[in-house]
Amino acid sequence: MVATRDAYGLALAEIGKENPNVVVLDADLKVSTKTSGFAQAFPERFFDMGVAEQDMISTAAGLAAAGKIVFASTFAVFGSGRAWDQVRVSVAYTRLNVKIAVTHAGITTGEDGASHQANEDIAIMRALPNMTVIVPSDSVETDKVIREAVKFYGPMYIRLSRPKTPVIHDNPNYEFKIGKGEVMRAGSDATIFACGLMVSLALDAAELLAKEGVKARVVNLHTIKPLDTELIVNCAKETGAVVTAEEHSILGGLGGAVAEVLVENAPVPLARVGIKDTFGESGTPDELLAKYGLTPEEIVHAVRAVIKRKK
């Protein structure tokens, strides 16, 4: 079990050694976002902007305009919501090389409560032109995402989590490609598209379903934008039913994005597992996942339901 934010911090510190052009900004959260490792190793290339997320994002744009590869980190609520207009005008409109790498996304932020649980960030980030949106599923993938982000020119939103989560990529040679989904388990009765920590829960769900003879395909859709439309359509056609699973509102996130593709290209029964248009509350990550329906059991119910709806 490793938190994706920890993998981010380690990757960043290593990249700092390899690439002197990388600079990192944080808004008074370097210990929580794990940019502290980079800060310690490369103090001259680390800028703590204090509690000023809007300033941080536009400053990041200025650094990028002058040729730097910039990582700007804070909690997901602040990096997306608090600074949305700055992300829109200073970063997305300008297509500058700023990576907004946020941690504490979703309900598993836990005890801090609703104000700190970003359940809407995927929706508002993917609505921005020029923005690439990535939600890594585990620590191994996070490491690959950060390394790819350095090579990729342009704005990127990378969504990371607070709690330790299972490592589901045991092959260190796993090849991560921006915009290309990963089939993690074969199956022909239905497809579960998941992102972030829900990929692990989707794999658990598929295991439970297998016991009752249902073969569920599991796809890790780490890139919400640009979306792997071809893979989504093929899976829908081959399995005839789709479930999405995300630690985010069912409005406008992974479920919304997949629904848009299905309706236009391959209408099949669809069920969305996620936060049901409500704010969260304080609690432990596990308690909250259970209370808000982000469990393997919930995914199992959804898969059974969509299979029933097949013609």
Partner: protein
């Protein structure tokens, strides 16, 4: 000190830029003439005296950079870029037309020479800080300039950026406020007071200079002093008049914040500017 000849040359350019602003906004039938005209002399001194730049190589790595934080004053920047040779003067008439690089608010991707896209107020100073930080890191000699509106200073982000620039001792940054004292809804002091404006910047750790924003020598002198200041950023509060150079706009600045002159008004304005040109 700037020479008498250079001053006279710059004064003539400033009138030329003002004529472009009047013509472009009239042709576009929209745009922001008032806040463009108030900034005309500042922009003239920057683009024809102060900035180290190469219009034939707009991306020259060592250049000085200018961020137009009050992005609605796009017409005056476009006029300066055209006269400086970034693109043909004739292109100015495409302002705000569909497909044109001369967007309503400045867009760095569509127009070389524009260093940052703005339009949503309050973001430019932060971006200028970012450039100044990068230049410090890379030990570049170039300077960063940023022009803000006074109404714009009601945005909280401006003061976040003010703290950042002082904290990081960005002495390669010169910011200028086009202090024309009017915003869309009325006089700035009446809508939401900035007083004591200069003291606010001083309290935030800036070196503050006050100057007549319509006197070429005064602007040039302030920019020179800013360049010599070490260890902190400089803010030049330029006292300006909204609509400067066109008397009927000066007389009713609120009517010409975001409204273009009609054909008739344009002719009247050009006539007045031509008269000044001949003096």
């Amino acid at each position: 000190m700037i020479s008498k000849e250079k001053t006279a040359e710059l004064e003539a350019i400033a009138i030329k830029l003002r004529k472009h602003v009047v013509e472009m906004t009239c042709a576009a039938a929209s745009g922001h003439p008032g806040g463009s005209l108030s900034a005309a002399d500042i922009i003239t001194v920057l683009y024809f005296h102060q900035l180290r730049k190469d219009p034939k190589d707009p991306h020259w790595a060592e250049r000085d950079r200018f961020v137009m934080s009050k992005g609605h004053a796009a017409p005056i920047l476009y006029a300066a870029l055209a006269e400086a040779g970034y693109f043909p003067v004739d292109y100015l008439k495409t302002l705000r037309r569909i497909g044109s690089s001369l967007q309503g608010h400045v867009d760095m991707l569509s127009l070389p020479g524009v260093e940052m896209s703005t339009g949503s107020l309050g973001q430019g100073l932060s971006a200028a800080n970012g450039m100044a930080l990068a230049y410090h890191l890379d030990k570049k000699a170039g300077r960063i300039y940023c022009l803000l509106g006074d109404g714009e200073c009601q945005e909280g982000q401006v003061w976040e950026a003010a703290m950042t620039a002082a904290h990081y001792k960005l002495d390669n940054l010169t910011a200028i406020v086009d202090h024309n004292k009017f915003q869309i809804d009325g006089p700035v002091e009446k809508i939401k007071s900035l007083t004591p404006f200069a003291d606010k910047w001083r309290a935030f750790g800036w070196h503050v200079l006050l100057c007549d924003g319509h006197k070429i020598e005064a602007i040039a002198d302030a920019l020179e002093k800013a360049e010599k200041t070490k260890g902190r950023p400089t803010m030049i509060i330029a006292d300006t008049v909204k609509g400067k150079g066109v008397s009927f706009m000066e007389a009713s600045p609120l009517d010409f914040h975001g409204k273009a002159p009609t054909e008739e008004e344009k002719d009247k304005a050009l006539e007045e500017l031509c008269r000044r040109e001949k003096k």
